[in-house]
Symmetry: C2
Subunit: 137 residues, 2 copies
DNA sequence: TTGTTGTGGACATCATGTATCTTTTTACGT
DNA sequence: ACGTAAAAAGATACATGATGTCCACAACAA
């Protein structure tokens, strides 16, 4: 019942990116040092975020990463689902994840679906425009 | 970001117990069969719930388990924390789990603490009196 | 005593998290 | 043009915890 370490690191990395001056790239090394994230693990995370369309990568000696769109257009939900896939608070809310009580609605499932909806809404509201230094929270 | 299988099984087992006639015990075998939970895994879960004060066990050939108190006095939060320990949505909300930004409050941490509080409140509201057959939801 | 119950420990398997190494790409100085 | 350094990208190996499984043992009512 805890966010994966990978997603936590991803959120911190994106927060860092959101605070870079426009046009400036963040490298694996610089982000790793600033946010205290193991370098090689961060490399995988940034690659996944690039695949997920949240970051853009540039190779070569002056390379690095930048946000693919404005910070306020990137939400916690985007980042977490790019890393861990679709959020499900319980196995039984996943597709085909629940075989209990086939012909009537499972009460437990109903509860978890409700919580999941609330949680995802909260994650979708939280964007990285809020996390830029010197801006209103 | 998902409830452990162990806790999910625990909730189902307790739901099952809440529906037994007063005085009737549920055995590992019967609960395992009714809820489709692997027998030996369930045995550990029920033992943990007994240690946590949620169930009472009786040994011997007529033995089994029953709820330690009324169904409506047992919440999801009780069951889940008895199995997995205190709930934390992120490592950084655990004691000593966050070293980021020591001298100012970490914004990410603030967000997760807020969500965690909401989630625990919801789990604490959800009790097994609601889950007895033929009762109002 | 016998069979059913719970209890406890050892082990297997898989996903997650982490570290190490190599390859490919690019810029820059010579 | 060339070589080198610095960057991303990819491959591999290992540690740890979650999820079960297996089996021997203890308790106890019939």
């Amino acid at each position: 019942m805890r966010l994966s370490r990978k997603s936590d690191y991803a959120l911190r990395a994106i927060k860092h990116m959101a605070n870079l001056p426009t046009g400036k790239l963040g490298s694996i090394n610089s982000v790793s040092a600033a946010e205290a994230i193991p370098r090689e693990f961060l490399a995988k995370i940034l690659k996944d975020l690039t695949r997920g369309g949240i970051l853009v990568s540039y190779q070569g000696v002056t390379g690095g990463y930048r946000l693919a769109r404005a910070a306020k257009e990137v939400t916690f939900l985007h980042v977490i689902e790019a890393i861990d896939g679709p959020i499900h608070l319980n196995l039984c809310t996943e597709d085909d994840g629940c075989r209990c009580e086939q012909y009537e609605t499972c009460q437990l499932k109903t509860f978890w679906e409700g919580q999941e909806k609330l949680f995802k809404k909260a994650l979708g509201r939280e964007h990285f425009g809020k996390y830029r230094k010197g801006r209103a929270k």
